[in-house]
Symmetry: C2
Subunit: 343 residues, 2 copies
C-alpha cells in the first residue's frame, strides 16, 4: 500500500499542505495538529516519495563519488577504502545518499556527464585521483554542478581538499637530517600526480632549509605500488644512501623487502620514512616511520565543503589543506621499543 501525503492528510483530518509542513519541520503548524500528524505518520510508516520531492525541489539528496578508470589500485590500496569510508560516514550524517561511480573505461567516464549530471540526478560530485589535464575534470568544471576534488588538481578555479603533501616532504627531510643523516635519498612518487610533485618539492625544500640539496643520483621514482617500491630500491640501494624518504608507505614496504634481500638492515644501515600512515605501517618489520595523512578526514571534509557549495553557504573555489603528522617508529630509530611508538 503506497501512501501519499493526501492519505496521511485524510487520516489526520488535515490537508496535504499541513502534512507537508509537518514533514519539513516548518513553523506555522499548531502543536496539537503537528503531534497528531506525526502520530499518523508513525503509525502508518509513511515516507515521502523521493522522486516527487526532488522533482519539485530540484534537489536529489544524492552526492556522487567518482573514481576514475585508471585506478586499478583500488584493488590493493587501502587509501581508497579509507577515503570511501570517510566520505560515506559524512554523507550519512549530513543526510545525503552516496552514489559510487567506478569507471572501467574512458567511455563510461564520458557517459557520466550527460547521463547522470545533466539528468539532475546529483546535487554534487566528489572526484578523486584526477590526472593532470583530466578531460573529465574539464567537462565537470564547465557545468554548474558543485564539484569538489580530493587532492590538488592541476588547474585552478576548482574546489578541492588535500593534505599538506608539501609539508610532509619537508617534515621527512628535516627528520632525517636531524637524525644526523647526510646522504639522504628519495624514493619518489610519480610526478605526473600533484601529490608526487608536492611531496618531492617539499622534500627538496626541507633539505634546503637544512643546507642540503637532493643528489639526483639518490632519487628514483616508483609508481605507488609495492613492487614499484621494490624495484626503485634495487636501484637506489647501489648508491648506498644512509636514509631514504619513500613517498608512500606501500612503496616503503617494497623498499624494505628489497633491503632485506640485500642484507641492509633498517634503521642501522639505512633509515626509512614513509608517507601515508597506513595501518600496515605499524605492523611492518621494522615498524615504519611515516608521514601520517588524515585520509578519512579528507573524505569527510570533502563532503562538508560540497554541502556548503550545494547549500550556497560557500562559493567555489574553496580550498582546504589538512595537516600531516610525523610518526616516528623503528625504521628511523634503533632505540625505539619493539613495536615503535609515536613521539
Amino acid at each position: 500500500m503506497k501512501l501519499t501525503l493526501e492519505d496521511i492528510g485524510r487520516l489526520a483530518g488535515v490537508s496535504r499542505s499541513t502534512v507537508s509542513r509537518v514533514i519539513n519541520n516548518q513553523p506555522n503548524v499548531h502543536d496539537d495538529v503537528r503531534a497528531n500528524v506525526l502520530e499518523v505518520i508513525e503509525r502508518t510508516g509513511y515516507a515521502p516519495n523521493a522522486a516527487a520531492r526532488s522533482l519539485v525541489s530540484g534537489r536529489s539528496g544524492v552526492i556522487g563519488l567518482v573514481i576514475p578508470s585508471r585506478v586499478h589500485a583500488i584493488f590493493e590500496d587501502p587509501y581508497f577504502s579509507r577515503l570511501i569510508q570517510g566520505i560515506s560516514a559524512a554523507s550519512n550524517s549530513s543526510g545525503n545518499m552516496l552514489s559510487l561511480f567506478l569507471f572501467q573505461s574512458a567511455e563510461e567516464e564520458t557517459d557520466l556527464y550527460p547521463r547522470v549530471v545533466k539528468a539532475g540526478f546529483l546535487d554534487g560530485l566528489i572526484v578523486t585521483a584526477t590526472r593532470m589535464g583530466d578531460p573529465l575534470l574539464a567537462s565537470l568544471t564547465g557545468s554548474d554542478l558543485p564539484v569538489v576534488i580530493v587532492g590538488r588538481p592541476d588547474t585552478g578555479g576548482v574546489s578541492y581538499v588535500d593534505v599538506d603533501n608539501h609539508d610532509g616532504g619537508v617534515k621527512a627531510a628535516v627528520h632525517l637530517y636531524e637524525l644526523g643523516h647526510r646522504k639522504i635519498g628519495l624514493l619518489g612518487a610519480p610526478v605526473s600526480t600533484t601529490a608526487g610533485l608536492d611531496r618531492l618539492n617539499g622534500f627538496v625544500q626541507g633539505l634546503a632549509t637544512c643546507g642540503m640539496a637532493l643528489d639526483p643520483k639518490l632519487r628514483v621514482d616508483g609508481d605507488f605500488s609495492e613492487s614499484g617500491g621494490y624495484e626503485a630500491m634495487q636501484k637506489l640501494a647501489k648508491q648506498r644512501p644512509d636514509a631514504v624518504f619513500a613517498a608512500s608507505d606501500t612503496m616503503a614496504f617494497g623498499a624494505l623487502r628489497a633491503l632485506q634481500e640485500h642484507g641492509i638492515s633498517v634503521p642501522q644501515d639505512m633509515a626509512i620514512v614513509g608517507f601515508d600512515g597506513m595501518p600496515a605501517s605499524e605492523k611492518s618489520i621494522p615498524a615504519l616511520t611515516t608521514i601520517r595523512q588524515p585520509v578519512a578526514e579528507t573524505g569527510t571534509r570533502a563532503v562538508q565543503v560540497l554541502n556548503d557549495l550545494i547549500s550556497g553557504a560557500a562559493s567555489a573555489p574553496v580550498v582546504e589543506i589538512l595537516p600531516v603528522e610525523l610518526v616516528v617508529r623503528q625504521s628511523t630509530d634503533s632505540t625505539a621499543p619493539a613495536l615503535g611508538g609515536r613521539r
Copy 2:
C-alpha cells in the same frame, strides 16, 4: 538553461509526446521526424530529468549496495574492493546507478529502510556480509523491494549469490590427502558465518571421502584477519600437523608468518592451502596454494539476478552458486617453480 521535453518539441516542431517516444526508442515515429528530433537533442545537449522520469515510471534506475556496520574489515580486506568493483561494473553496463551504504552503527542501518527504501529511492538492493539472524535482513525481506544477498544467508526465502564454499572445503581436503598428508589440520573461519560453516563442513566431508576424520585437536578457528591467522597457527603448530587448510588467504598469510617464526618451513614441514585467491596469494613466500573464488563475478551475478527480479524476469528466491577452483602453488608443492604456477 534547463531544457525540457516541451522545449525540444518546440525546437523540433513536434509535440513533447513525440520527443518522449524518440527518447524511449518507441516505434510509431516517422524516420524523418525521429532523425530531426535526435538532431535537436544532440545539438542542445538535452537530457531527460531523472526525478520526473522516475516519479511517473516508479523506477529510479538505482540499486543499492549495503555493507553492514561491523565490517571494519573493509579497511583491509581486498574482498570488498573486488566485490564492489564487480557490482559497479555490472551496474554500469546494465544502465543502473549504484548507491553505496556503508554503515557505522546499527542506528544508521535501521534508518535505511524508512529513509531510503520506503521513499522508493531504490529499485533493488544487494546486501553483503549478513550475520546470522541479521535484523536488517529480516526487515528487508518483509518488504516488496527486490533484494539479493551476497553469500548464503541463514534464512530461507531470500535470493542469494554465493560461491561454493562447501566444494572449496572438499577440494582442499582432497588435495592435501592426495599429496600424501595424513595429519591434516584446519585453521577455520568463524562458524558464525555461513562461509566459515560451509568451508568447515566441506573440509570435513572431503576428509571423509578419503576415509579420514578431522581431529578436533587439529582445528583452531580464526577471525578472517591476518593476526587471527597468526594466533591460530601459534596454537595449531604445537600439534605439528603436516598440512593445514586455512579458510582464508589472509589468515593463511598470518599462519605463514607464525610458521616462519617457528622455523617450520612450508611446504617441506607443513603444506598450506588458503581460500580466496587474492592477488597477494601469488606473491607470498612461498606462493600460496588456494581455493580461488570468483569475487568480482559474484558481484556481477548479484546485479544480474537483481535486475531479473526488478524486471520480473525472475521471482524470488533465486539462488546461484558459483564454482571455486583449486590453484596449486608452492605452499603445497616443493617441486613447483619459484613463483608457483597453476595446474
